[in-house]
Symmetry: C2
Subunit: 338 residues, 2 copies
């Protein structure tokens, strides 16, 4: 009970909590001396710590961990918040990516922290179509479609004149050989046998191969969105510009962030301070939740805030958000899969 009170107090006030204030606040009558004794015991266990020898206590990482694992009760979400979530997700989105991106934005707005969202995805997307669309004199657009509906495109200029026949031949080549294969295999072929074959049809295949490669890697990448980047400036108390820069750089690398988010799990997961895989995040905490969009795979939403965050509220919020988002996506797919 004392640990719980300490966490609650400290996360809301940011000030180390002392025995007297704590005693006054506990449901039963105890003196501050008693509380002091108990606190000494908690400190012995490594659950709380002092900032200096005569200061009040703050929870240690271990203390937060215990709190999150055994004590926290997710706050029931406020009616107001659920309205905001519902109405923001309500609109007529034409693309699923817009829903995912908006999610990160709403979540960051509601919390004033930084939010991440990862599109639901099957383990392995496969190539389901490739096209070259001639646009003008010398411009061609390469379009790639995967079996779960992702589309990537890129325009490029061609140097030598290329006939429609040539383009078609290349498209046919790609489609014949690569359709249905997982993207990583496609990428592998691109390093090995494809270039030679393309060279039969195009005189200068480099440009085409580069674009094809670009589009492929884009499609293979996780669809990762960050919302409320700037909120980091609020809750980071680091004044070290270099550290802020590293953080922003980290957030821009979706593969590094995928490591940080960790393995998907059915529970809402909380990583606290130094528990984080990436040392840059040692002063922050991350709440991660996997959501399931019917049989369209699993996605992730996550919330990055200070270690000293009001976990009960945040866990409640992320939980509610996860549900709303899953529901919204199921509706979305139902609408388009019909």
């Amino acid at each position: 009970m004392i640990l719980k009170a300490i966490v609650r107090d400290y996360t809301s006030s940011g000030v180390p909590v002392g025995s007297k204030a704590l005693a006054a606040q506990l449901p039963m009558h105890v003196s501050s001396a008693t509380v002091r004794n108990e606190m000494a015991a908690l400190e012995e266990l490594g659950l709380i710590a002092k900032t200096h020898s005569s200061s009040g206590r703050i929870p240690s990482v271990k203390g937060y961990r215990y709190y999150v694992d055994h004590l926290v009760q997710p706050d029931p979400i406020k009616a107001n918040d659920i309205d905001i979530i519902k109405s923001s997700l309500e609109g007529q989105f034409l693309k699923i990516d817009e829903i995912i991106e908006t999610s990160a934005k709403i979540l960051s707005n509601l919390t004033s922290y930084t939010a991440f969202s990862l599109k639901p995805e099957h383990k392995q997307s496969r190539l389901s179509g490739f096209r070259l669309v001639p646009l003008g004199k010398r411009q061609v657009m390469a379009v790639l479609v995967t079996d779960n509906g992702d589309v990537e495109s890129q325009t490029f200029n061609i140097t030598t004149k290329i006939t429609g026949d040539q383009l078609e031949a290349v498209v046919r080549l790609i489609n014949d050989q690569l359709i249905g294969k997982p993207l990583d295999e496609v990428l592998a072929s691109l390093q090995s046998d494809i270039p030679m074959q393309v060279a039969n049809y195009l005189q200068q295949p480099e440009g085409f191969l580069k674009v094809f490669g670009d589009v492929l890697t884009q499609a293979a990448q996780d669809r990762f969105y960050v919302g409320g980047r700037l909120n980091l400036l609020n809750f980071s108390d680091s004044n070290d510009v270099d550290e802020l820069k590293s953080l922003y750089t980290l957030m821009d690398h979706s593969d590094d962030m995928a490591d940080v988010l960790g393995q998907p799990s059915d529970h809402i997961q909380v990583q606290i301070g130094s528990e984080m895989t990436n040392d840059i995040l040692r002063d922050y905490s991350l709440i991660t939740a996997t959501y399931e969009a019917g049989d369209h795979g699993k996605g992730v939403i996550a919330l990055l805030g200070p270690t000293r965050m009001p976990y009960s509220r945040m866990i409640g919020l992320v939980g509610a958000f996860r549900q709303e988002l899953a529901q919204r996506l199921i509706d979305y797919y139902r609408y388009f899969d019909q």
Copy 2:
């Protein structure tokens, strides 16, 4: 001479400059007392100011203005820097936007400030082509091409089954009526007569119209890139998070930034502190240069740094960069226009 020395000293050290240090540094022999007298005169003219009653002097906005207008000699660019610029622009870019984007990056790297770049553009681009590419069961990609080679595309899902004939009819409709028209006119028709006509071919035209509108506004927007966003954290000495946020928000609005950059001009323009049109930038300075890419229109590069920046070096650098970029673009166009 004294004003020049004060600006040079202060921009490099950041410390108000006093009479003694200044006297020691001037080319002729004068005592500090003489310098003090002159400084009093300069202060009278409003060109320099004190931070407190017994401090050394710093240039005022008016002083910087005089310095920039009459005294500054652009530094000759370092061989090293020119190498960096040349080699970064050298690669085989497939799209002009990549060159423009890279420019902002290089310029910000070289200076540790924040750089902006605006793509060269004719006053009015015109619609030169529109296509709908069917991608899968229910996905269609809309592609729009303008007469100066910009391509915008967007995918959307369709709710009701649409036949190839229907798509072709819509494409033909758009192309017949709108090709060759400036984009703003096209946008105007989209608000008026087009919807009715499209309704003849599609049962639920809303989705299509939204996508067409999106793609149009994207294409009509200035192509604006920011490099070295994070460098703002270095040179801004404001600790006010809200102010930083406003700055970042400003940078993300290309139309607001277009106002800030001002009218194109053949000279390199410098806006200092409170001269800036936007009050948020009152503690910064902006160096702007227009570059001309043959007859493909004019673009802009700009550099945002602290008011207290080494103008001679920065002006030299921006000038050199402008030249290199113009040359690079002319080469680019020569290659593809051939």
